[in-house]
């Protein structure tokens, strides 16, 4: 086995975090910079990953595999491919920025930062794990720190929001756990790669049928796979979130601390889409294909209803939160369009677009939530109607927020456009009417984001006339995000290169 780079990257925040707990609690600068320093290490690791990753190889790379709990055939099994690599990179990029954005936190810094380290290990675990046991462990591990981050450091209604978030996601988790228990009982494995092989050869259905017979369930294999698919996918659908499982999101975002929102929108939502790509699609291609039109309608509902609901918000953070529903809807539209029948090139376009959109939304939504946080730190309100004319006193901030908003509404030259174009280009020939309707979302997005800019920055200066412009630290958080908006918008090919082979490989299950 080679140098265990994935394990190091994955477990470093957790192990370093345990040591971090022994730092003196009253030395605030040390606590802040210490946490920032710790999160930089995985970032460096992910650069090395990018450097040594062979983008021509569609399979898993940097694989680490060893027995863990032999009794239930659980292995410690890590690896990256084109589907996960961009997400790993995004994670290691966003966590340090979120930590840097949290320097204004004063309350109980040590616990706060520790939770972020835990969150990083959890998120990386989800993207790296190739065994369900491992995957689920860290799936849950992402949930708990976020619960406490909202609950302890959130805004006025944090208790209810944290609880709603927890219940929603826990519900999904239970369903997923159930389904995997069944899969395990039927196939005696938790290994994703083995499950995919079983699914491809048709053995998955056979073993499910045998299991059903054994326990006396009168179901056909088709019904069994359908049930398993929906049980697993409801967890992901809640995480994405797909309409109508999305109502935890606006509440959680509104109440979460700034950095929490950045991670929530930037990373945790991606875990849902990733789950679809890693588990639901390759394990149950037939079921997805059967239900693709229905699921795509839900995706369309996310796009349109999310956009319209965003337009009606008066709370700045809620508006951005709903824009996430809208943008993740494009991802889901792409995924379900790909599951329908159609040409391989169109599918490759849409699925590359989905992966790029995941990355782009991570960058852009993190930036937007950060900007909202910058404003909230100064005004202690999120009420849009109370701002106005801020561009006069905060010109740099207005520029940064303007770029992020335009990135979000899909302005060509910035990142969002490329991914949305790829998704639309692919989906158009796969699901024409739904894609046509989805373009309305592009328009509504422009309406509410421009209205937001107008309310915040234009017109005469409102009641907040003494705000200072962004500080150096705040620029340092925004600058890398802005950089990636331009970089991906102008030169997307390095990212698409990373994902393309894995996409083509994944599409083989549908051919």
């Amino acid at each position: 086995m080679d140098f265990p780079i994935l394990s190091l990257m994955h477990l470093f925040p957790l192990l370093a975090g345990l040591c971090y707990l022994f730092l003196p609690s009253d030395n605030k600068p040390l606590l802040r910079w210490g946490a920032f320093g710790i999160t930089l290490i995985p970032f460096l690791f992910s650069f090395s990953l990018l450097k040594h990753f062979n983008s021509q190889n569609p399979g898993f790379q940097f694989v680490e595999k060893m027995p863990w709990i032999p009794a239930i055939r659980v292995e410690y099994f890590l690896g990256v491919d084109g589907l996960s690599l961009t997400m790993v990179f995004l994670t290691t990029l966003l966590v340090p920025l979120a930590v840097l954005a949290s320097f204004s936190i004063e309350k109980n810094i040590k616990t706060y930062m520790f939770l972020f380290l835990l969150l990083e290990t959890g998120t990386l675990g989800v993207f790296l794990a190739l065994n369900f046991f491992h995957f689920f462990l860290f799936w849950e591990m992402g949930l708990i720190p976020m619960f406490f981050l909202i609950k302890i450091w959130g805004s006025e209604d944090r208790d209810a929001a944290a609880f709603k978030f927890f219940l929603y996601t826990l519900f999904g988790s239970v369903m997923m756990l159930l389904a995997f228990q069944v899969l395990f009982l039927a196939t005696k494995t938790f290994d994703f790669t083995e499950l995919v092989i079983l699914s491809r050869s048709g053995l998955l259905k056979v073993s499910l049928l045998f299991w059903a017979k054994r326990v006396g369930l009168p179901f056909t294999p088709e019904v069994m796979t359908t049930i398993a698919f929906f049980l697993i996918s409801v967890a992901f659908a809640i995480k994405v979130p797909i309409w109508p499982f999305h109502t935890w999101l606006p509440d959680a975002h509104t109440q979460a601390p700034t950095a929490g929102s950045m991670i929530l929108a930037g990373l945790l939502l991606k875990m849902g889409v990733y789950g679809f790509l890693r588990i639901s699609l390759p394990l149950f291609p037939d079921v997805v294909r059967t239900f693709a039109p229905f699921l795509a309608i839900l995706a369309l509902a996310s796009i349109l209803f999310g956009a319209f609901a965003a337009m009606a918000q008066t709370d700045l953070k809620r508006m951005i939160a709903y824009s996430s529903v809208n943008h993740m809807g494009y991802c889901m539209l792409g995924i379900f369009a790909v599951s329908a029948s159609g040409g391989l090139e169109a599918k490759a376009s849409a699925l590359n677009g989905v992966l790029l959109q995941m990355f782009n939304h991570g960058i852009t939504s993190a930036a937007l939530f950060f900007m909202v946080g910058v404003l909230y730190d100064r005004a202690h309100t999120r009420d849009l109607s109370r701002f106005g004319g801020l561009r006069k006193i905060m010109p740099i901030f207005a520029g940064l927020m303007g770029i992020s908003a335009f990135s979000s509404l899909g302005l060509p030259g910035l990142n969002g456009f490329v991914s949305e174009f790829l998704i639309f280009r692919g989906s158009f020939s796969l699901m024409t009417p739904l894609t046509l309707l989805a373009t309305i979302g592009l328009l509504v997005t422009a309406i509410y984001l421009l209205s937001m800019l107008q309310l915040l920055f234009h017109g005469p200066l409102g009641e907040y006339a003494s705000f200072s412009d962004v500080t150096g630290r705040e620029i340092a958080v925004a600058a890398p995000l802005i950089f990636f908006m331009f970089f991906v918008g102008i030169h997307p090919s390095p990212l698409i290169e990373l994902t393309n082979e894995a996409v083509v490989h994944l599409l083989k299950v549908f051919s």
Partner: protein, 666 residues
């Protein structure tokens, strides 16, 4: 110089770099920013001239209709196995546009130096101006519809930034937003057109060289033969539906009816911006797009649509212009009307006529806008023509140049507007009589409202406050140069000197219709008549009280003045409708979905109460507290949140146990 043809990207590159450099400049660098911006656009201008020489100098490689094009290809990215090749083009259309855009931009930039010299944000202004010019230059050299669309949207966003430049004014902020959103409605059509085009042809390259492309004979034939079935319309030939979809984009950008509403509001931007938007950049983009897509559109069912929309727009906007009092708004409606003219020309198959009018119009409309800016500057910000008058004495240079522009726009022989307008009318006369008469009545209205403006602004006696004064030389020199262009630029397109060299350059081998003296005589006649009527109403007896037209036309005048109530109509339909939908979906989330969840939550709570009762009954107190914890009603939870780690651990443990048993049971 051949080297330059292979490096076309250099042309937008310089203004783009200038924009980027200026973006990082401090607000105090008031000298450096204009210097960079003007320098960069002048470099682009010089490069365009060199390109022109290079282009006519070297051996031509015929393509399509005997045109010569030069392409440079670049690989953008690969999805699946499909490479996305993007490409730049140099052909006569590109060259014409490069010339117009760089020359008008350069003059507007120089003019802005004078016009904006007191503005505290002049640095930002030149940053946006440079971005604007760069995106327009990128647009005209694109040979790939996606790249074209990107530049297209960048043009839109730069105009958004510039229209809203004085963002403290709520009207300016609203106008900027309106411009972006209305044009984006059209852009959605454009975007769908791109998707359909991509689906049917597998490429968005226009001219391909060795690559598959849209304008190759095979692809064009394929598009002309095949049809798609639409609900309500039945089978529609692809070129028709594609043409209409792409034209949607052009309607938005070029402010064609019914998307014209953003353009008059865009007057809230600084006047140099208006000049740029109306002459060389934003609105020209739509006409350019139709010109660029001409090989696809020619002969398709989209052409009558284009022609009729153009004709209706021309007449509609000209009538509104008659009843405006704001010096810039009047010009704005005049622009809409003239854009309609261009579209009408293109739609009737007059490719050269439409592009020719685009060029001459760019010169005289830039001149008129800059002239109106000079008037506004001289009148201390006054824009209402009722508070002007007699300015020809106070502002002689502005007056004479403005008069030149007005005569050109009115189509008086032998100024530039005469030749280009005449070509469009000739096309209409030959191919479509109803549109010809619409065009001719527009010519009458144009002459009338422009001279109404001349008489109100420059003749009679001063009705404003304070003392009007002439503008500084940085503003006057661009006016003089543009006046020369407005007067003489049309001569390259006359049939009487060297047999219309512009036509031979733009569309070699195209058969030119014979000039018709009837058309020329009629258009000159109606223009002179329009001037005469304007003189009767506004020149003979200078304006004192209310507009004389108001007393003749009454209700109609009000209707025109209020722009046929289109804004109110949109406000009450689309805007209110969208807001209503938005509120509806918010309510769905808050009442229906969350309502359902809270009911479910309530039921769970009842169950858990029952569970708690069981626990209390069967188990001892230690376990109780944990159950209270997961039960989760607010009060108990707050107790949990006191921060005792053992509570959390207990909850987690219990949760795991429950899950374990659940999974066992099921």
């Amino acid at each position: 110089m051949k080297w330059l043809i292979g490096h076309l990207w250099l042309i937008p590159f310089f203004p783009l770099v200038a924009a980027a450099v200026i973006a990082f400049m401090k607000k105090e660098k008031r000298e450096a920013a204009p210097f960079f911006a003007i320098g960069a656009i002048l470099v682009s201008f010089v490069l365009s001239c060199l390109l022109f020489l290079a282009f006519i100098g070297i051996q031509k490689t015929p393509y399509g209709h005997g045109l010569s094009v030069h392409l440079s290809h670049y690989l953008w990215f690969v999805t699946g196995t499909t490479p996305e090749i993007v490409s730049l083009i140099l052909d006569p259309l590109t060259l014409t546009m490069l010339f117009v855009v760089t020359i008008v931009s350069s003059l507007v930039f120089i003019y802005s130096l004078g016009y904006m010299h007191e503005d505290p944000n002049i640095v930002r202004f030149f940053c946006f101006l440079s971005l604007f010019a760069a995106s327009m230059l990128g647009l005209v050299i694109s040979n790939h519809l996606l790249i074209l669309f990107m530049c297209w949207e960048l043009v839109g966003v730069s105009s958004y930034l510039l229209i809203g430049f004085w963002y403290e004014k709520p009207e300016a902020a609203a106008a900027a937003k309106k411009a972006f959103i209305v044009t984006r409605v059209g852009d959605i059509g454009f975007f769908i057109g791109l998707l359909l085009l991509y689906q049917k042809t597998g490429t968005l390259l226009l001219y391909g060289g060795s690559y598959p492309a849209i304008f190759s004979h095979e692809t064009l034939d394929l598009l002309k033969i095949n049809a798609v079935t639409l609900p309500l319309f039945g089978g529609v030939i692809l070129t028709t539906i594609l043409g209409v979809l792409l034209f949607f984009g052009a309607m938005g950008k070029s402010a064609q009816f019914p998307f014209h509403v953003w353009l008059p509001d865009a007057m809230e931007g600084p006047t140099p911006v208006s000049a740029l938007i109306h002459a060389a950049t934003m609105v020209a983009a739509g006409v350019f797009l139709v010109g660029r897509m001409f090989p696809l559109l020619e002969g398709s069912g989209a052409m009558p649509v284009i022609a009729w929309i153009g004709g209706i727009t021309a007449l509609f906007a000209a009538t509104i212009a008659v009843a405006q009092f704001d010096i810039k708004r009047l010009l704005a409606y005049s622009t809409i009307s003239q854009l309609g003219y261009m579209m009408m020309g293109l739609g009737l198959g007059g490719y050269v006529a439409g592009i020719f009018h685009l060029m001459t119009h760019a010169f005289f409309k830039a001149l008129l806008f800059l002239g109106s800016g000079s008037v506004i500057h001289g009148c201390h910000g006054e824009q209402d023509m009722r508070h002007m008058g007699g300015l020809r004495k106070a502002m002689p240079v502005t007056f004479w140049t403005y008069l030149a522009g007005t005569l050109a726009l009115a189509g008086i022989f032998p100024l530039s507007g005469f030749w280009s307008k005449d070509e469009i009318l000739l096309e209409a006369y030959l191919h479509h009589r109803p549109l010809y008469w619409i065009g001719t009545s527009v010519a009458f209205l144009t002459a009338f409202y422009m001279f109404r403006q001349i008489f109100m602004v420059f003749f009679g006696s001063w009705r404003g406050h304070g003392q009007a004064h002439e503008s500084p030389q940085t503003m006057l020199w661009p006016l003089r140069i543009l006046a020369i262009l407005a007067v003489f630029a049309g001569l390259i397109g006359t049939p009487f000197l060297f047999g219309n060299p512009f036509r031979h350059f733009l569309a070699p081998g195209h058969h030119a219709p014979d000039p018709s003296f009837f058309v020329m005589a009629v258009s000159t006649g109606v223009a002179l008549f329009g001037i005469f009527v304007a003189y009767l109403l506004y020149g003979r007896k200078p304006l004192t009280g209310e507009d004389p037209l108001l007393s003749y036309l009454k209700g109609i005048f009000i209707l025109l003045q209020r722009k046929y109530y289109m804004d109110e109509l949109y406000q009450n339909t689309f805007v209110k409708g969208a807001n209503g939908l938005a509120r509806f979906f918010r309510e769905v989330d808050e009442l229906v979905i969350d309502g359902f969840l809270s009911r479910t939550g309530w039921a769970t709570l009842v169950l858990s109460r029952f569970n708690q009762w069981c626990d209390n009954f069967f188990l001892n107190g230690g376990f109780d507290r944990a159950c209270d914890g997961i039960k989760g009603s607010g009060g108990q939870l707050r107790r949990v949140q006191t921060g005792r780690a053992q509570d959390y651990l207990l909850i987690a443990a219990v949760g795991a146990v429950v899950l374990y048993f659940l999974s066992r049971i099921l």
